[in-house]
Symmetry: C2
Subunit: 325 residues, 2 copies
């Protein structure tokens, strides 16, 4: 009776690869899978217990590191990644880090112990151990070096589109607001694209920046108010996120500045799926489903080929017209 | 040299319990844990490999079944459950079902195979297999029988508070809108409380109902518009969710009905953590952190005592004043 070694030899692959096919696990190219299934048929091979047990020796779990699962953009990313994993018979371990490096480290230790298949991660911290880990790791929104593939929206083009939109709508005094000038993540390319477009158009733009502009805090309110003090005639704002854009509009409205007639605002993310909460933001929409799909695909490639190196894989963005420009 | 059996005998517990203490796992009462640690010290017992291996024989993973992780209320629940699990050294497997019973069933099969510690679940489907499973299971927001502990907000009181608020603000023609009359979940008690309070106050209220009022869809818009056709003088609405409340306000505004001067609206959930998107809803706030904490605690009790039976454990709610009443 033929065994798994016969199948592997005939197919010119390792036993592990045959086992993956038998157990319908990922990490095998479609054509290789088809060839192995063909050989299994030809040889009339019945998988034995050993082969079946392969399934239990490695895990089908992918760890997903996310700073804040309840943030609207990140909740969408989480749902999309889960969807893509489930389609491939993989499970998600949710590692919600609250953006604390200690919690990320704690999860990394768990991930190692549990023989997790791989990690898809959004991290804003420099967790040395995470960067050095042997577990296949795909980053979203932050480039951590060529050894760790990174998937991100085309933030640079997003910045360009935002400025173009504000200029086209007639804005003369345009500012970008947020933390894009100080973060290490791909978000900084929103600022680069914005500046690039300004140079192309030969116009001056203002950058109003500080660290950590996530959330609706007293600090952020003071920070936004300072922009209106510093640039009283500002008539166009590109905010680094939709939530910050909404805060800008809330503060402007409090000061009696009308949006969009006196001040036009473009956000970034595309967190509003419907117009029931206002303002319905004009924004650069992140292609969340595409980002998720690509991240999972690249992770499976990385598992198959641990030496895979890559620059940032960027996914196109689009401008969506709302009521704020 | 003393072994784990000696410790167990001296403490009057099973080996499994001692192992849980050694490996810092949950499911042991604080006083039992303290007693065992004491005995370990007294006997100068050093855990051997067998004991240490216990850790790997059962899993520290809790599966969390959620219909839509990107729904704002459910995203908050997910983050809170993850927080509570992590505090107890437990991990979350995210089982995002898209509210499809097939996907719930697929996840249930995985959960069984993976020897998951237990399940915390929000499900709107009747998955027979889920109800009959031997895996310790705690339900949120839906009572599935006394064998499955259920944790939910005090929906009944929420309905009462909502009506009280609308009456106090002077509304004369008050309607409740949503699916609370047709769902099996604890949400139906929002309607019961609303009706109870109306009877107490001796006033008539209108119920405007249909199946599935989640999301901003054409169906829901038509449904909301029908209320305004049917009851043109409606001046108070209690919506079964914040998202539906926001939809009601959006439709009213389109018709030139001003909120709150002509129409007052109370929602349910408390999904807005800040006032940057308007309207800032008057709403009944669900105590999400408390629900999550209680669900995890009850799950650990259920693991220790599989025969644990209970009615619904309700957590108090509160009314929060917004700009819509």
């Amino acid at each position: 009776m033929p065994n798994i070694k016969d199948v592997a030899a005939r197919a010119g692959v390792g036993i592990n690869t045959v086992s993956r096919v038998i157990n319908n696990r990922p990490g095998v190219k479609a054509e290789t899978r088809a060839r192995i299934l063909d050989i299994i048929k030809q040889l009339d091979y019945v998988p034995n217990e050993v082969a079946r047990n392969f399934r239990n020796q490695t895990s089908n779990v992918v760890a997903f590191f996310v700073p804040f699962v309840s943030n609207p953009y990140l909740a969408k990313v989480t749902a999309s990644i889960e969807h893509e994993l489930h389609q491939r018979d993989l499970k998600m371990m949710l590692c919600n880090s609250d953006s604390h490096s200690e919690k990320e480290l704690a999860y990394l230790n768990i991930v190692r112990k549990e023989k997790v298949l791989g990690i898809i991660g959004i991290t804003y911290n420099d967790v040395h151990e995470l960067l050095e880990t042997n577990v296949p790791f795909v980053s979203i929104d932050r480039f951590l070096g060529k050894k760790i593939p990174c998937v991100a929206a085309d933030n640079f083009m997003g910045g360009r589109l935002a400025l173009r939109e504000l200029v086209q709508k007639g804005c003369k005094r345009i500012a970008m607001i947020g933390d894009a000038g100080v973060v290490q993540s791909e978000v900084r390319h929103r600022r680069r694209g914005f500046k690039y477009e300004a140079d192309e158009l030969g116009i001056d733009v203002i950058f109003h920046e500080k660290r950590n502009t996530i959330g609706y805090s007293h600090n952020n309110i003071v920070f936004i108010d300072k922009l209106f003090d510093k640039v009283p005639d500002v008539d166009g704002v590109f905010a680094v996120s939709d939530l910050l854009a909404a805060s800008v509009i809330e503060r402007a409205t409090k000061k009696g500045i009308h949006v969009p007639s006196q001040l036009k605002v473009v956000g970034f993310d595309g967190i509003q799926d419907n117009p029931i909460f206002s303002p319905y933001l004009s924004t650069i929409v992140q292609p969340v489903e595409q980002i998720a799909k690509t991240a999972v695909e690249i992770l499976l490639e990385k598992i198959e080929n641990p030496k895979l190196r890559s620059d940032v894989i960027t996914i196109p963005v689009a401008y969506r017209q709302g009521d704020t420009t």
